[in-house]
């Protein structure tokens, strides 16, 4: 240790000075993705927070013990029958489900890194972005496993949100809602906001405003004026997150101290807060919705506000107004098919069929190290899923899973 720290400091400044400088290349920072990922982490904080907290949470959520993998994510205990308010479900039941699932990498025209951010109900179309060296991001469309379109929308932080079976896309650029169809880009009316989903009839849902001023809206077409979706007096900000073919809109609003809890605007014109599922003998405080399809809703129930102490996965049916708790092995539910099958994210993507049996989708074979999977697209027949892999030894890889 030097006896003359001031001189030492001067020397040190000179010694290290060649390292001074600014990054010269274009920024690759993606604020929209930071927000999307941040929202996902808010919902799944129990997976990534400290292991002690996770252990408590996960144990209580699953009603049993969980082991922990090296990445801090709970590894489900062996499946067990789970009591539920719906007809009883046994995980080991041998029902109809996906078979012979395979995974392929979606083509990227030689670009090594890409992600899938959505897809349509037929399983034919997927959307996402590639990362061509030196060019920031490129918005792309795949059809039948082929790269078929590159969408150019000027503005910062572009992100494709959803695509329908006609190939109509909705996007967010510059924190504003956009649509794209057959080479033509349309900015949706209403000012700042975001799109979330488009159905085959061309109905778009999302939100206008931002942050604490967010309000859920519906556009009957990409050229229509936005219609505010009514929320109860006294409720806070909210967003519409998904729409099914019947026109039922799923939302998440802040209401009565519940943050982002499920809300439904049904095609018959009625609207209501979603009920709370039962979790381990008590009523959940919030239900965080993820997707709606053919009257099925999937999401997570949470006990504890504002920071949950327990989470569990659920499938809800509008027609019966009942929840069914999904096995822990289902993973975090992200999409649901018209037949009620659920696509979830565990250590690998998982399909949970109508009877609650789970099928783990195959890993990306080139990934050898630690890896994680984000899924964003699921077909109505429950047989085609898409998403991407991230890992310690691979670039982000856009993946398509097909089952029979």
């Amino acid at each position: 240790m030097s006896s003359s720290p001031d001189l030492d400091d001067l020397d040190a400044g000179a010694l290290l000075s060649p390292l001074a400088g600014e990054p010269k290349g274009p920024s690759r920072i993606d604020v929209a993705r930071a927000m999307a990922e941040g929202r996902r982490r808010r919902r799944t904080r129990w997976w990534t927070s400290g292991v002690a907290v996770v252990a408590l949470t996960a144990t209580s959520a699953a009603g049993g013990t969980l082991a922990f993998s090296a990445v801090g994510r709970p590894t489900p205990a062996p499946p067990r029958p789970i009591a539920s308010p719906a007809p009883s479900i046994t995980v080991a039941a041998p029902p109809a489900g996906p078979r012979d699932c395979t995974v392929t990498r979606l083509p990227t025209d030689g670009i090594r890194k890409a992600v899938v951010t959505g897809g349509d109900s037929s399983g034919q179309w997927q959307i996402g972005q590639t990362y061509p060296p030196g060019r920031g991001q490129s918005l792309v469309v795949w059809k039948d496993g082929e790269l078929v379109d590159e969408i150019k929308i000027n503005g910062s932080n572009p992100s494709l949100q959803d695509i329908n079976s006609r190939g109509d896309v909705v996007a967010v650029v510059d924190e504003r809602p956009y649509a794209y169809s057959a080479g033509r880009t349309t900015r949706l009316a209403g000012g700042a906001g975001s799109t979330a989903a488009i159905n085959d009839a061309g109905v778009v849902v999302g939100a206008l405003g931002s942050g604490s001023g967010n309000r859920p809206v519906r556009w009957s077409s990409v050229t229509a004026r936005p219609q505010s979706l009514p929320t109860p007096a006294g409720s806070g900000p909210g967003v519409a997150v998904d729409v099914d073919e019947a026109g039922n809109v799923l939302g998440a609003i802040d209401i009565e101290g519940r943050q982002s809890t499920g809300y439904l605007w049904l095609a018959d014109g009625t609207a209501r807060q979603m009920p709370m599922p039962e979790m381990d003998g008590r009523r959940a405080d919030m239900f965080w919705p993820a997707a709606i399809r053919n009257g099925w809703v999937v999401g997570q129930g949470a006990v504890g506000t504002p920071d949950p102490t327990a989470l569990a996965f659920f499938r809800y049916q509008i027609a019966t107004n009942r929840y069914e708790r999904l096995p822990t092995a289902s993973g975090d539910p992200t999409r649901v098919a018209a037949n009620g099958w659920v696509l979830g994210q565990a250590e690998l993507p998982v399909i949970t069929n109508a009877a609650g049996a789970t099928t783990v989708l195959p890993k990306y074979p080139k990934a050898k190290g630690r890896q994680d999977y984000i899924v964003a697209s699921y077909s109505d027949d429950g047989l085609v899923a898409a998403g991407y892999a991230v890992g310690s030894d691979i670039q982000n890889q856009p993946l398509l899973w097909r089952c029979r």
């Binding site: 720290p5 040190a12 000075s17 604020v31 930071a34 927000m35 310690s392």
Partner: protein, 170 residues
């Protein structure tokens, strides 16, 4: 003071990105890793943004998050940063003169224990006073001073004779 809304988050992040990128670049010496570091930092910031109004000095708070993300990365690797955050990594553009000097120094610095690396970068490249570095790292000023001394000693030992062809040769 921000109230935790998305619009304020966007305004805040847009206003700070350049500074965060610079600090991240000085910490890790790689543009693309720097972007990954900032991406992870602003993602963490968004997770906590709804409660940001309880934070007295948001800039210091974010700076601390950035440095801790850097230290976490040194300990654990990059997989977590890349989770859903996919900046590409093209080959770096050929840098101008001084490339060899920088490469030698950066390689040597990367062999210094991560906490000491952070102290050296914050103090001598970001020109932060000891008190600020102590606050960012959540350590006492005495610890920062001793880590500075240990870090410099280690750096000089690693550089050995090569130090004479670099700056600060005394």
């Amino acid at each position: 003071m921000p109230n935790g809304s998305d619009s304020e988050y966007l305004a805040y992040v847009h206003g700070r990105t350049t500074g965060l990128r610079r600090t991240a670049y000085l910490l890790c010496g790689d543009e693309h890793q720097a972007d990954d570091l900032v991406q992870e930092t602003i993602t963490k910031l968004y997770v906590r943004w709804s409660r940001i109004s309880g934070v007295e000095n948001v800039d210091a708070y974010v700076h601390t998050m950035l440095v801790r993300t850097f230290l976490d990365e040194k300990r654990r690797g990059w997989w977590k940063v890349r989770l859903g955050v996919p900046p590409d990594r093209p080959a770096p553009a050929p840098p101008p003169h001084g490339v060899e000097e920088r490469a030698v120094l950066r390689a040597a610095l990367s062999q210094v224990p991560p906490g000491q690396q952070a102290v050296l970068v914050l103090r001598f490249l970001c020109d932060q006073p000891v008190a600020d570095v102590a606050r960012v790292l959540g350590r006492s000023e005495g610890t920062v001073k001793s880590q500075t001394a240990h870090g410099l000693t280690a750096l000089r030992r690693i550089l050995g004779d090569r130090i004479h062809s670099l700056g600060g040769t005394r």
